[in-house]
């Protein structure tokens, strides 16, 4: 229970933020906000010892018990790791934002409300055991991210970026919901733990691959994998603390979390291994390659985030491959899961610090354009040191955390070549090659980021503001993260013991029973000569050379078009104008068109039902005899109808309509319905009088008499409707299933109701309600007519509403 409530703690705290902002304006609102993630971080840290021993914590809060929907907070190694990242980095980002955002010029209450909302959403995503509540929190991250990207909503680019990220991540979220529902149907439960325990039975199910692909779509859109990464560079319009928090350390890792969480269920499928590894690795190469094209500091970091997320994703794919091997722990595949989680921690640490440095550079010089920057090394020594540590860790240089994870990444990829299942023996060699090329580019852009900003020649004339070192408060968080990046390098096994191994045990329960069983010792980085070592040396050598000659070949990037972005833009434009054009083609504004649609569909549906369901039947029994009078009246009726159709003058048409009405009255006489005949005669007379009135008031201009022009299309539709109605009448008459209820009326009309005229008794006694409301209809029509004629809203001269 308490764990579930802790998820909601930030959003509850958010309720008080606007009040604090308005009432206590002289203290930066961020200081109050800081308490929330800090307190949560401390609480989650206390769970570490028991989780590291393989324990877990569960708490449950019912939401919709009748539908079996609940908030279930389930904390195991994986959830705890993410929760610590969310609250830890969250606290640092809030601290940073206190110095980054001005308390007088910015709308801080909006900012911190969105941020706390996001924190709840992320904690909910990583702790939910219930698929539906997981989806709820998932969409809440999309919404709060949308609000944060559009924080400076007066800028066009912010709104564009917010909308783009919303469209793509919500698309993925909806696909994921589909996958969840399929999983729920397959396993008859929405609990992830129960689904994992059923995993062996789920594999053969028809929906299995569908669920797999749909859930991966959700994960790939959120984690900015190819080709859905395009929203991430545009999301850089957000304030830098947001980019650091959401778009590097937490939200984009929600997709990784999802893949890691579902690995025990889906790892049995070769499709999963191939998709996750392949797309991840390709994204890594693509992102690192295009990072060098960027001119904006945050643009470079956005592409580098895409690339690093791809790297972690591919490692998760390899960790799933371990499912297919008997003794996976013996071949080096077991490094993959460990490497994925280890790099995830490293990436959150160094990317957070790098974003904060980019924000500092922007804040202190007024620009993020790397072409205008340079030579800031001596002016901003602390920022430079932090940036260098972050970038070297990103490039995989010793002595920083990134080096260790890069080594394990290469180990995992090389291990794939030894893996001879799922046709890896043919294509397996591709993986280390792509990984190596991607790493080379990673090396180059890391250097590009640091040295083109801080080294080289200082260009004060191009900077909007004179550059100087940032205030101390703003530096606390990046410096802390940089120190962490170094510390991780020296104590990797402690980090592994407490954080990584419990998480790996959660991802690969098919390989390890408990965290202690995860048999990876990171000390392997020093010592003997391995292929990975040679690959690393190669990366340094080739990367160094290419960085040295960067100026000579960077202009080649101009030749690469922005295909995916323009595809997205065109798609959005086309869906807008296309839908508009489509509705314009059939929404013509003419009532005739709409009547044509209605009648055509009536004919098609009814005749289609006759044909498809074999519903038409004709029965010659029980027919009334044909008499001479009936034939004569019928001919009169047909004759008058034809007169209406072919008359030249409307007057003739009106009189012919009267003739039709009187023929109908005669039919009523013949068919023994005296009351109907009376009513019909009277009403037909009044109707014809009304028609004549309307005719008399025809406007002079269009009064010229003309025969109705024959239109073939109209005739076809009219004929179709006529034939349909005839067939319906015949079929209905032939298919009477039950005798009429009228026998009852005939027997009881005199004894029970005390009347002789059965029709009238039905109208006022048996079914009097019909009559009551029929009187109502007549009354309303009368009132309506009076209103139409009498009521005139005063209209000024020349002010026609359509003008």
């Amino acid at each position: 229970m308490s764990l579930v409530l802790l998820i909601f703690l930030p959003i509850i705290a958010a309720l008080f933020i606007p009040l604090l902002f308005k009432k206590i304006g002289q203290i930066h609102t961020g200081w109050f906000v800081l308490l929330v993630p800090a307190a949560l971080f401390i609480y989650y840290s206390t769970l570490l010892p028991s989780i590291a021993e393989g324990g877990n914590r569960v708490s449950e809060l019912q939401w919709i018990p009748s539908l079996d929907i609940a908030f279930i907070a389930y904390i195991d190694g994986l959830s705890l790791l993410f929760s610590l990242l969310i609250t830890g980095i969250g606290a640092l980002v809030v601290l940073y934002s206190i110095f980054y955002l001005d308390k007088y010029r910015e709308q801080l209450h909006n900012f911190y409300v969105y941020l706390l909302m996001f924190m709840t959403a992320m904690l909910g995503v990583v702790q939910s055991d219930h698929l539906i509540s997981l989806y709820l929190f998932w969409e809440l991250t999309s919404i709060s991210s949308f609000l944060l990207i559009g924080y400076w909503y007066t800028r066009d680019r912010s709104r564009f970026g917010a909308l783009k990220s919303m469209m793509i991540t919500v698309f993925g979220g909806l696909m994921m919901l589909g996958g969840f529902v399929l999983l729920g149907i397959m396993g008859n439960t929405y609990s992830i733990r129960e689904l994992i325990s059923q995993a062996p039975e789920l594999v053969g199910h028809d929906f299995f691959v569908w669920a797999l692909v749909l859930i991966l779509l959700g994960a790939f859109t959120k984690s900015a994998q190819f080709p859905f990464y395009i929203w991430l560079p545009d999301a850089m319009e957000a304030p830098t603390p947001v980019s650091a928090y959401l778009h590097s350390a937490t939200m984009v890792k929600a997709g990784l979390y999802l893949v890691a969480r579902f690995t025990p269920i889906f790892a049995a499928s070769g499709t999963w291994v191939w998709l996750v590894t392949g797309i991840g690795l390709f994204t890594m190469l693509w992102g690192s390659f295009f990072a060098l094209k960027q001119k904006d500091l945050k643009g470079i970091l956005a592409f580098s985030t895409v690339s690093q997320l791809g790297l972690i994703m591919s490692l998760l794919g390899v960790s799933a491959a371990g499912f297919h091997v008997e003794n996976a722990t013996e071949i080096a595949l077991n490094y993959a899961g460990f490497a994925a989680i280890f790099h995830l921690i490293n990436h959150a640490v160094f990317k957070g610090s790098l974003f904060m440095i980019a924000g500092i550079v922007d804040h202190e010089t007024g620009t993020r354009d790397i072409r205008k920057l340079g030579g800031l090394m001596s002016l901003m020594p602390i920022s430079f040191t932090v940036a260098m540590i972050g970038a070297f860790s990103m490039a995989g240089l010793p002595p920083f955390g990134g080096f260790l994870s890069k080594e394990m990444f290469l180990t995992g990829m090389v291990a794939l070549t030894e893996f001879d299942l799922l046709s890896m023996d043919v294509w397996g060699i591709m993986f280390p090659v792509i990984a190596w090329i991607g790493s080379v580019f990673t090396f180059i852009y890391s250097f590009y980021f640091v040295f083109h900003t801080f080294a080289g020649k200082h260009k004060p004339e191009e900077l909007p503001k004179p550059a100087h070192e940032a205030p101390k408060g703003m530096l606390i968080s990046p410096v802390f993260l940089a120190i962490l990046a170094v510390v991780i390098f020296f104590i990797p096994n402690i980090v592994g013991e407490w954080l990584v191994k419990p998480a790996v045990a959660a991802i690969q329960p098919f390989m390890y029973d408990s965290p202690a069983a995860v048999d990876v010792h990171v000390a392997a980085w020093h010592g003997y000569i391995t292929p990975e070592l040679w690959m690393t040396i190669g990366i340094f050598a080739v990367g160094g050379l290419m960085f040295w000659s960067l100026r000579k070949w960077q202009h080649l990037y101009e030749r690469f078009p922005n295909t995916l972005n323009s595809l997205y833009d065109k798609g959005m434009f086309l869906s807008d104008t296309g839908a508009n054009r489509f509705s314009r083609t059939y929404m013509t504004g003419f009532i005739r068109s709409y009547l044509v649609y209605m009648f055509s569909f009536l004919v098609i549906i009814v005749l289609g039902t006759f044909v498809l369901n074999d519903a038409f039947a004709i029965d010659m029994n029980n027919l009334a005899p044909v008499g001479l009078y009936e034939i004569v009246i019928m001919l009169a009726l047909l004759g008058s109808t034809l007169t209406i159709l072919f008359s030249k003058s409307r007057l003739t048409a009106i009189i012919a309509l009267g003739a039709v009405g009187y023929s109908v009255a005669l039919f009523f006489v013949i068919f023994r319905a005296p009351d109907l005949a009376l009513t019909q005669l009277v009403i037909e007379t009044i109707s014809v009088a009304l028609f004549l009135l309307a005719f008399y008031h025809l406007p002079q201009i269009s009064r010229k008499e003309e025969r109705m022009r024959f239109r073939f299309g109209n005739a076809v539709i009219a004929f179709g409707v006529g034939v349909t109605m005839t067939l319906v009448a015949l079929a209905a008459h032939s298919g009477k299933a039950l005798p009429s209820i009228s026998e009852f009326y005939k027997e009881t009309v005199y004894t029970e109701a005390g009347g002789g005229n059965i029709v009238n008794v039905i109208l006022v006694d048996y079914r009097g309600f019909d009559t009551l409301f029929e009187i109502g209809v007549l009354g309303i029509a009368g009132i309506g007519i009076i209103t139409l004629i009498k009521l005139r809203l005063a209209k000024k001269e020349g002010q026609h509403e359509n003008k």
Binding site: G589, F590, I591, L595, A624, P625, M634, L638, I644, L645, R650, L657, V660, G661, V664, F667, F671, R672, A673, P674, D675, L676, T679, Q680, I683, I686, S687, L690, F691, H697, S702, M708, R711, A715, I717, A718, M725, T726, A729, S740, I741, S742, K746, E747, G756, N757, V759, I762, R767, D770, T771, E774, V777, L778, I780, A781, G784, I785, I789, N802
Partner: protein, 115 residues
């Protein structure tokens, strides 16, 4: 007889639909008039056209072969309602002539910016 009546009803529906698809407002209303005639006759026919006497019990003496009274009651209600609606339509048409000066449906479309 019912088969012949079915064909007649189909014919009435055909004429009604053809008129409703025309351009002139008054022809459309004539079309609705024909349509309601068709519907009333359809109701009567579906009830069965047999029965020797009108549904009236004279002096408490019940004859065996009455025409079915229920469809007649339904038709009577329908006649009154369609009369109310038709007269309201006609007055609407009359007011439209007065205000807009046309009875051509093609012209009664509104303008591009009036959506």
């Amino acid at each position: 007889m019912e088969i012949i009546m079915s064909v007649v009803i189909g014919f009435l529906f055909m004429a009604a639909v053809y008129l409703m698809l025309s351009k002139s407002l008054i022809r459309i209303i004539i079309g609705t008039g024909l349509l309601s005639h068709g519907a009333h006759l359809l109701l009567l026919t579906m009830g069965g056209l047999g029965g020797e006497s009108p549904p009236v019990v004279a002096d408490g003496v019940s004859v065996s072969d009455y025409a079915d009274p229920l469809p007649q009651a339904l038709i009577l209600t329908a006649i009154v309602i369609s009369f109310a609606v038709t007269s309201f339509f006609l007055v609407v048409a009359y007011r439209a002539y007065q205000e807009l000066g046309t009875d051509n449906m093609e012209l009664l479309k509104g303008t591009e910016d009036h959506e």
